[in-house]
Symmetry: C2
Subunit: 474 residues, 2 copies
């Protein structure tokens, strides 16, 4: 190897130590037909970065296990944390072509363009969060490529590997599709591997350029944490009234709905439809009580409740949607979120944990995020339990008096109460900006607990019946 | 439900808040034949604990994906963290019977007793770490059971579930085996579900008793952090000499070995044998350089390097082996650990992060832990790179002078150097206590880097050749 490449290796490693310290997550994608030199180039890079924060991820054809999850699930799960670098040997682009060309889950998508949109949204939201995504497409002349293949074939211990070259996607199809992507997206860097030495140089030069740019960008970042609140905010959004459910009818009604909910669970399981239920609302609005009524008769092997607290340090080190993406349900399962990704535009906005830019772009990101699951038929229903300020005070006081409920009330609840107006405005904006047709919000008056619970259960059942059997609300 | 059971529910929830605060991990196992009432009992418990720290885990027959991993892998991965509670609907006992009765991986084990030993070792090491393991076996009279089944069959939306009752293990076999376990192990609590109300009461009473005991135990814990070091410790264990490899021959030799290593990787992949390589040694002994030489020609899709740093707060909240268990290789893959679980008896002993009881019991735990993988044919090879004190000083100084290596040397390295004698003794004891036939240690003199690297590669190749093709060392 020439002196020049050695220098470039050192320079890239040095910059990578900087991106590590600055907490910049880096993703390097390698695409190209089999035996084009992808392995050698990606390996070259891998060997010259610090193994402590470098991960090599190879995209293979999805197995039965993978197919129970969302298209991008495995890429969400393995996102690099702040300062780490992931090298993708084949990426979500190959993954997409595998889906499209082999008609995987073809009954789920109107068209495979849905997945192209998901990829765009995924990359856009990562870039927004300072992810540096570097994309290489490796080319080679055919003669040279055949040489590579022959080398492998000649080794009795390795010749079975040649089967990999008879790929899951026909080569011409792969190339045509990739050329289309490369033409559309200036971010791709095409490297010809025919001249190995030049290819190494080009790869390093491009990486160096991109890491330098990423470092510069982060160093000039604007960190305005303005929550942009209105003084004396008022809204009529939450002024919803429901006829009170009487104590006498409640008991029978709730049992009837819970039985139906159990049947719905079985029907979802049988038809492999996942269900996501999101609960947000003021403190003491009764999220836990509502969730308890929903799950009371469910088969516990088919659902999970995720109580969302402040992120751990590992979670803080990741994209804010990462910890939720990992929890999204597989086919036929139910995930219930007691608080959720909406923390980004609620507590994070109010407390300044997310800057102005971050919480404002979160609305669209969240809409896109939810769509990744609804695109595949997941039912996503979101409930906002609203309470008035007096009723909250009453419940807080009740909790403090009852020894079995004291643990439920903390100083933080009282602190949040002082910011009632800000939470109200943040909740209002959240609903206005994320009430989509694919993942709608339901505002549930929660001053009267029993009424709210009946309403939530009814809504879930009605929506699931509509999906399962086309039952309409007349 | 009678007043009595409600009181018990509250009491159990209250105690569970205490175990949560004390950081006690709890595992509650439910075994029993289908339709015996397991679901209702486990669900009853689930509904009365705090969803924030309760997980419901259901054991199903292993799928292709699971079979690529170790027998207990999924239980390792999902271990409750400190203060959390896992409810197991069918547990590793059902899992074991599934393996045994369906002859899963029968070519891997001498006998299925191997798995019984693994279960014992697993439970023993968890209990040692203050895990409270509560085991229920649910019985019911046959008439009542048939009633349960009929109820499900009568509902058109749920009748498909009845297929689950035609279980993977014949009922009589299941019962006979479980009765054997229950007889042997006093920890099992048998509950007759024929009288539902009594069953609930019994369950809660037993849980209350056990949680109270667990709390008492933790409150009286002895936290002696003595590292038990000898003054002026000396050992001849590391006085090994190897003929120096000359610079001239090194280059050819290393390339030859790396080519062979690549072939070995392919052969391991094809025969589905996993390989684990562990590297320990003094700071600056050259672990990274050694690992780099091993991986240089490997296919990066088939191996991973795990650089082990101080645990994250999530990792600290788990059993100390958890973060490593999650990283163990699937079939045909290679995992390289740059530092490892041996931190427990090295840095944790020296720095007092583990108490005397903990690091002393770790030797046996680690032996058992490694055996869980070698039982299934995983090759585990452990390398200790030893350096003398003068050579370390020389390397530290070199690193400080070289701008491209400065990042490699930290204050911590200098601090550790001051405890040279303690690290030496800890390393000595580690090798003496964990040099097993299933997972041997290789002491590699590392004063001369090139010689050490050749020796490591040769050892790996020789050991793998022995497993793959019975090649012996003559």
């Amino acid at each position: 190897m020439s002196h020049n490449v050695e220098e470039l290796q050192l320079k890239a490693a040095q910059l990578n130590r900087q991106t590590h310290e600055l907490g910049i997550p880096v993703m390097v994608l390698f695409e190209g037909i089999p035996a084009s030199g992808k392995t050698r180039l990606s390996n070259e890079l891998l060997l010259h970065l610090d193994a402590k924060y470098t991960q090599f991820i190879s995209t293979k054809s999805p197995q039965a296990h993978d197919l129970r999850y969302q298209f991008l699930q495995k890429y969400w799960n393995s996102l690099p944390q702040k300062g780490d670098i992931n090298i993708y040997f084949r990426s979500w682009y190959s993954h997409y072509l595998d889906y499209k060309e082999n008609e995987i889950k073809h009954d789920k998508y109107k068209s495979y363009d849905v997945l192209v949109n998901q990829i765009n949204d995924f990359e856009t939201m990562l870039k927004k969060d300072n992810f540096e995504i570097i994309k290489f497409f490796i080319e080679i002349n055919e003669e040279k490529r055949q040489e590579h293949i022959q080398q492998t074939k000649n080794n009795p211990l390795m010749k079975w590997k040649v089967q990999e070259y008879e790929n899951v996607i026909p080569q011409e199809t792969y190339l045509n599709n990739m050329r289309y992507f490369i033409k559309k997206d200036k971010d791709w860097k095409v490297i010809d591997y025919t001249e190995r030495h030049q290819a190494f140089e080009k790869m390093y030069l491009h990486i160096i350029k991109r890491l330098e740019k990423a470092i510069e960008k982060v160093e000039n970042e604007n960190n305005n944490v303005d929550g942009m609140f209105t003084t004396d905010f008022t809204t009529s959004l939450f002024d919803i009234d429901l006829p009170k459910v009487h104590k006498k009818t409640y008991k029978d009604k709730i049992i009837e709905l819970q039985q139906r909910m159990r049947e719905i669970q079985f029907a979802l399981y049988e038809t492999k439809i996942p269900l996501v239920l999101v609960f947000e609302g003021m403190d003491a609005a009764g999220k836990g009580g509502n969730i308890k009524r929903i799950r009371e008769k469910l088969d516990p092997t088919g659902y999970e409740v995720n109580g969302i607290s402040a992120p751990t340090d590992v979670e803080k080190n990741h994209h804010y949607l990462w910890r939720f993406a990992k929890k999204m349900p597989k086919t036929g399962h139910i995930e219930i979120f007691d608080r959720s990704w909406y923390g980004r535009v609620l507590v994070e906005r109010v407390e300044g944990f997310a800057n102005k830019d971050e919480w404002r772009s979160a609305y669209e990101e969240i809409n896109q995020f939810e769509k990744m699951w609804t695109d595949e038929g997941t039912i996503v229903l979101k409930f906002f339990l609203c309470l008035d300020k007096d009723e909250q005070l009453k419940r807080f006081n009740d909790r403090e008096k009852n020894p079995d409920k004291q643990w439920k009330i903390t100083d933080e609840d009282w602190r949040n109460r002082k910011k009632w107006g800000q939470y109200l405005e943040a909740s209002h904006d959240m609903i206005k900006n994320t009430n989509t047709s694919h993942a709608p919000w339901y505002i549930i008056p929660a001053n009267h607990k029993k009424t709210g619970r009946i309403e939530v259960l009814k809504t879930i059942i009605r929506k699931c019946e509509a999906v399962l059997w086309g039952v309409k609300d007349y």
